[in-house]
Symmetry: C2
């Protein structure tokens, strides 16, 4: 049950993100997702009984992948001061290097209704709490967090116009801010 089922579910989720990118977040249709995932519409609705459930899962998946990636980075430098914000920065760099596509599934969910982002709100608040508990300088950590969030959202909206040089310059400055324990 696990192997096949999970694979199908994940294929559908990935297809949904793809479709959202291709036709615009507002035009994510179940038919198109099913086709892209090489699943019948009945099959799709077997896994996700409604469009809302699919969008919910899209958000959930994004959050859990984000969390996993962050934790992975943090394990690599346990105990260091400012380890969380430092991990977030490293994670962002890794994402860039691997040129991971933005989380367009989340966009589709928010387009449908901002309510779908309630889990994101909860996640963000928890992250902020952890960040403040973990940082030697809260304000600086917040700025780094927000600057990264800014770059993420620019990419998500496909309005990122930073040159590679600017990006590098910003990222190294942010790294310096993190290391300068005030």
């Amino acid at each position: 049950m696990a192997a096949e089922k999970v694979t199908s579910r994940q294929r559908i989720l990935a297809a949904a993100a793809q479709v959202a990118r291709d036709v615009g977040p507002a035009h994510l249709s179940l038919d198109a997702v099913a086709q892209r995932a090489a699943v019948s519409k009945g099959g799709l609705l077997y896994h996700f009984p409604s469009k809302a459930k699919l969008l919910e899962a899209l958000v959930e998946q994004h959050l859990s992948e984000f969390d996993a990636a962050l934790n992975r980075k943090e394990e690599q430098q346990q105990g260091c001061p400012n380890s969380l914000i430092s991990s977030y920065l490293k994670m962002f760099v890794t994402e860039l290097e691997q040129s991971q596509p933005p989380a367009s599934g989340v966009l589709a969910a928010m387009a449908e209704s901002p309510e779908f982002l309630a889990p994101v709100r909860r996640f963000n608040r928890k992250l902020l709490d952890r960040l403040e508990a973990n940082s030697s300088n809260e304000a600086k950590a917040l700025i780094v967090y927000l600057a990264l969030e800014g770059m993420r959202s620019l990419r998500l909206f496909e309005v990122d116009v930073l040159t590679p040089e600017e990006r590098e310059s910003v990222l190294s400055s942010l790294a310096a801010m993190v290391e300068a324990t005030a």
Copy 2:
């Protein structure tokens, strides 16, 4: 021609942003916009011959209002070093104080298709060029810009979970960064 026409157009534009906020960016329908603007659907289509034109106008309006607000702030402190990034910061604070609603019309446009954000890309790039020409420390200015962009996008997505204290702390730190001419 001028007085009535402009008023009607603007009522429609404002109604569109409202509707997008209410029903979710993906569900902005011409009928709903017409109703909210107290115009018939035919009337709406007279001003905006297609949905695409309406969304285009929504983005354009946002950009021009942004630009106007920024220029207004900059005029108040002509000649100062780092005047542009400083103006952007002040503008953001003003927006917060007036608790202006986020630009949900732009969200509706991007939901329909990311292509609608092409003017935003151009605008951002120009802004960045101006910013770099105007700043005594490019990297720092970029960080401030990105942090503000981060806060803006969190609000736009309705996932902003910063406490007023955190916001204030960040904003005053950003102001300090701007003033510390390196």
